[in-house]
Symmetry: C2
Subunit: 139 residues, 2 copies
DNA sequence: TCCTAACTTGGACTTTGTCCAAGTCAACAC
DNA sequence: GTGTTGACTTGGACAAAGTCCAAGTTAGGA
């Protein structure tokens, strides 16, 4: 994650302890935390960090393209640090678990010109839904 | 839309004027209203209808499978009455316009077994993003 | 070491949605 | 038609998620 911090410094960011902690919390694979979860984990490392700063920092990371915002349900947005490799999401309807997945092919190609209504289409987000092994097994 | 009302009566619904108005507001193609928008339009026809009733009715319609809940952004959920023909959504990043679209092929097939993590995958929701003709033209 | 613009803070505020007790009414039985 | 009853509706309080702002703090260059 220190390469992320370096990239941010290169873009003129001031490296405060708060930003460092938010970046650390978001490190890892298959990480999809809500803003409140990020705040809770950040507080464990830096007790005085405020919710406003967490929201600010997440928003900035999203603007810079370092973190993706994922809105899989109508509830809180989730933040996905795996922004540098294109991927989609697989969501368990039972327990809410989320995995990053990589379907083959380009989903944009499945949308014929006649279905584009004159739009310039640039991206496709796919949410696969199902039950994870634990939830499939039963209650 | 009266066939919808008939279906609901067949399922034991009491046909109140409030439910009738909500069903009427949701009639049409490419309709993707938020709960508040549904409420605003319902009030225009039935001034005393309450927010709670609109939320209740929308929730019931979703449970019955007559209306789809769409969460394209992290903001308010939208309600899509076109629940009886499978489709995906195309969203303008500029103005927020939404169209129903029909990509070809089955999106589930693009997800190889090795990317399913043992999940039983049952559905895929796709949100295409881009700019509509008006927003492409310029500001 | 000092200075200053950038950053952080806590709290007030907004938006979106849920819950509840009390009042109302659609549909059925007669 | 009339009465009955349980399902439905209402308004307001509440909760969750997120935004905004004035005042205080600080990273990093001079």
């Amino acid at each position: 994650m220190s390469d992320l911090l370096e990239r941010l410094r290169g873009r003129g960011w001031r490296l405060t302890s708060q930003r460092r902690v938010v970046a650390e919390v978001l490190d890892g694979d298959h990480v999809h935390l809500t803003a409140d979860e990020v705040h809770a984990r950040a507080v464990a490392r830096l007790p005085e960090i405020s919710r406003a700063t967490v929201y600010n920092t997440l928003g900035e990371l999203v603007c810079l393209g370092e973190v993706l915002e994922v809105a899989t349900d109508g509830r809180a947005k989730r933040y996905d640090p795996n922004a540098h490799r294109a991927h989609q999401h697989l969501l368990c309807s039972g327990c809410g678990a989320i995995r990053d997945v990589h379907p083959h092919g380009d989903p944009l190609e499945a949308l014929p010109a006649g279905e584009r209504f004159g739009f310039t289409v640039t991206a496709a987000e796919i949410t696969y839904r199902g039950l994870c092994p634990d939830c499939t097994a039963g209650p």
